[in-house]
């Protein structure tokens, strides 16, 4: 029989015992729903964890220092240290070269300096950190008071909450106020006449002031990423921080080296690549260029393994309900064979082959699986949404930002429906072959 005729007959048969078949289909739907809901939680939590990790920038960043850097993580123990002769300065040229490397999306220096801030006429000592534009999406600024820098070149500052409390117990009242940053600017000196070695002339340090407007207060510590030397409490846009040419901790050491004071050199650069999986290859290339490079291990890999096992366990628990539903399908179809014995006999007498009868029952099982799968996936999605909603109401009461703990991606929708059909077909195997084996003579005699 052609598939269309088979489906016609199957639908007709299913409609005939509509209550029983609907209940069986509902059983499949509940089974699929529990599976989809469980897996949507697994997927949602995995996405939540990986997106937080990815946003933090810890796992797609490489920390680059010159090889002669004595204090950076690239220095290493003396035995592994590269001789100074091979060292290459980490200057603007190097920065540009690294920026041009494939898969590199951002290269920025770590700018932090100790300084004095004057607010409301009183001095406060603090650490200033330059924040790259990309840090806006790192998640560290989620739920902050006020807003992120309006542009990378705005004279605006975001305060870390603890420092903000030093300025005023009412941190929200600080937003919109001005503060004065007092810092030491590096000014290069001309080389001294008669210096036969051609050494650069070093630099002088000149006190300077700059006004910033406070636009936000943040609870987290966005500038405490690895490679730093202390947390920044006063955050300003990185391009602004670079133009300040503020004297930094490494400057005294730099002057003893061969770098020209006119060219900015960096004690370290942070290199961000497109994805955590590219970190290792890029790190190797950076080392080949003559720099020390350091990165955290790709934690997302072990996270994936953890969540695969987690999903598997959730899937097993979710499948239990589907296993029960499978028994429901078998029961329904076996009952249908008893009821439709005579009909099977008539079909065979009219020329239906065993294969036709088998396919008919198979299609009926498949149709129940398809409907159960579609309805169950929808139900599973709704359960996931309800769990997310419930969790968010709870988090909201705890004054925490909302999260999306369940996710139903396309593969889960198609997988849920496909699995339901597959399981139903498997459940239909025994009834279908039993129906096909019916002796037509006996079946026709059956009243």
């Amino acid at each position: 029989m052609k598939l269309r005729d088979l489906s016609d007959l199957a639908f007709r048969n299913l409609r005939e015992a509509v209550l029983r078949n609907s209940l069986t289909t509902l059983g499949v739907a509940v089974g699929v729903a529990s599976l989809v809901a469980m897996l949507s939680l697994g997927v949602g939590l995995q996405q939540l964890a990986t997106s937080r990790l990815a946003k933090s920038g810890l796992f797609d960043s490489i920390f680059v220092t010159p090889k002669t850097n004595l204090r950076g993580p690239g220095g290493g123990p003396p035995a592994t240290r590269t001789p100074a002769s091979k060292a290459r300065p980490l200057d603007a040229d190097a920065r540009a070269e690294i920026s041009r490397m494939p898969n590199v999306i951002e290269v920025y220096p770590q700018i932090r300096f100790f300084t004095e801030v004057r607010y409301d006429g009183k001095p406060y000592a603090t650490m200033v950190a330059g924040m790259p534009e990309s840090s806006k999406t790192s998640g560290a600024f989620d739920g902050m008071q006020g807003q992120f820098f309006s542009s990378p070149n705005a004279d605006e500052a975001i305060l870390q909450a603890e420092f903000a409390k030093e300025l005023s117990p009412q941190t929200s009242s600080l937003i919109g106020k001005d503060l004065i940053l007092r810092y030491a600017e590096r000014q290069s000196l001309a080389a001294q006449a008669g210096d036969s070695a051609g050494n650069p002339g070093g630099f002088s340090v000149v006190p300077k002031e700059k006004h910033f407007r406070i636009i936000g207060v943040v609870e987290t510590e966005p500038a405490s990423g690895f490679g730093g030397f202390g947390s920044g409490r006063l955050l300003i846009p990185l391009p602004i921080a670079e133009t300040l040419r503020a004297a930094q901790v490494n400057d005294l050491r730099d002057i003893l080296r061969d770098s020209s004071s006119d060219k900015p050199t960096y004690s370290s650069l942070t290199v961000r690549v497109k994805s955590p999986s590219l970190v290792e290859a890029t790190e190797t290339k950076l080392k080949d260029l003559g720099f020390s490079a350091f990165s955290l291990l790709d934690a997302s890999k072990s996270l994936r393994i953890f969540f695969s096992v987690f999903d598997l366990l959730l899937g097993i628990f979710g499948s239990l309900a589907l296993a029960v539903a499978t028994l429901g399908i078998i029961n329904t179809l076996v009952m249908a064979i008893l009821e439709r014995r005579r009909e099977i006999g008539v079909l065979k007498a009219l020329g239906a082959a065993d294969r036709d009868v088998k396919q008919l029952f198979f299609v009926e099982a498949g149709v129940m699986g398809l409907f159960g799968g579609v309805f169950g996936t929808l139900l599973g999605w709704l359960i996931g949404r309800s769990l997310t909603l419930g969790t968010n109401i709870y988090l909201h009461r705890q004054n925490l930002p909302g999260v999306d703990i369940s996710s139903v991606p396309w593969w889960l929708v198609l997988g849920g429906i496909g699995f339901a059909v597959l399981v139903s077909l498997a459940a239909g195997l025994y009834p279908a072959s039993r129906a096909a084996r019916l002796d037509p003579v006996q079946a026709l005699r059956y009243e």
Binding site: M1, K2, D5, L9, R12, E16, R342, E343, G345, V346, L347, K348, A349, L350, G351, A352, A353, D354, R355, D356, P440, V441, L444
Partner: protein, 233 residues
């Protein structure tokens, strides 16, 4: 007519069932030839083996020994798939209890063999209408069997048996559930159908009077054996 090969040839056909330790010989060494175009009535009391013999000719059952050859095909050598094709293409069956599917309309019931034979949808409607016209039920095409009288239901069953244009029509007590007038009209219908060149009819019945009036030949069975081969009248 005699020059044509026989439509059905049974050679020493036996069909036995084992029930516990006893062996029941439902059909016992029957040899019978039915020429093409003949209307044969198979008579006998209940349990005489006539329905079993009909099932063997229909390819619904297989003989324990002997051979059943219909339209030149040896049914005992066919696979179950080939037997199904034979039932679809070569024979049409009419039963005592009509065996129409109650939830289907007349049109759908008559269409069923066409679906099984994978006849094109475009062709089906015309074939169904033609078959129902032949039995005088074209106006009840959208009705369900429960809305028809017994005679009309049996006519529908005849239309369903004919829709695939078989060469052999097998009828198992077609008048058994009908009053005598209706039964007569059904046999008149079968007789008309037999006028189609090449159509062979084998009818199982225990109503001798009717059989004598409508059939070309009577064969009588008793205890699984062919008691009288009958002669063409």
């Amino acid at each position: 007519m005699s020059e044509l090969p026989p439509a059905i040839r049974l050679e020493s056909v036996s069909r036995q069932y084992t029930m516990g330790e006893s062996v029941i010989r439902a059909v016992n060494d029957v040899s019978l030839t039915v020429p093409t175009g003949q209307f044969l009535a198979l008579l006998g009391s209940s349990g005489s083996g006539k329905s079993t013999l009909l099932n063997l000719i229909a390819g619904l059952d297989r003989p324990s020994s002997g051979s059943v050859v219909a339209q030149g095909q040896d049914l005992s050598k066919m696979s179950s798939l080939e037997l199904a094709r034979y039932r679809r293409q070569t024979v049409g069956m009419v039963f005592q209890s009509f065996n129409l599917l109650p939830r289907m309309t007349l049109e759908e019931n008559v269409e069923l063999p066409l679906r099984l034979a994978e006849v094109d949808r475009s062709e089906r409607a015309a074939r169904v209408r033609e078959a129902l016209q032949r039995v005088g039920l074209e106006k009840r095409i959208g009705h369900r069997p429960s809305e028809l009288s017994g005679g009309e239901q049996q006519r529908t069953a005849v239309a369903r048996a004919l829709v695939n244009r078989p060469k052999i029509l097998l009828a198992d007590e077609p008048t058994g559930n009908l009053d005598s007038a209706t039964g007569e009209s059904i046999l008149t219908l079968l007789r008309e159908i037999q006028k189609n060149p090449g159509m062979t009819i084998v009818m199982v019945t225990h109503e001798r009077a009717l059989a004598e009036r409508f059939a070309d030949r009577l064969a009588i069975m008793g205890d699984g054996k062919l008691l009288s081969n009958g002669a063409a009248r």
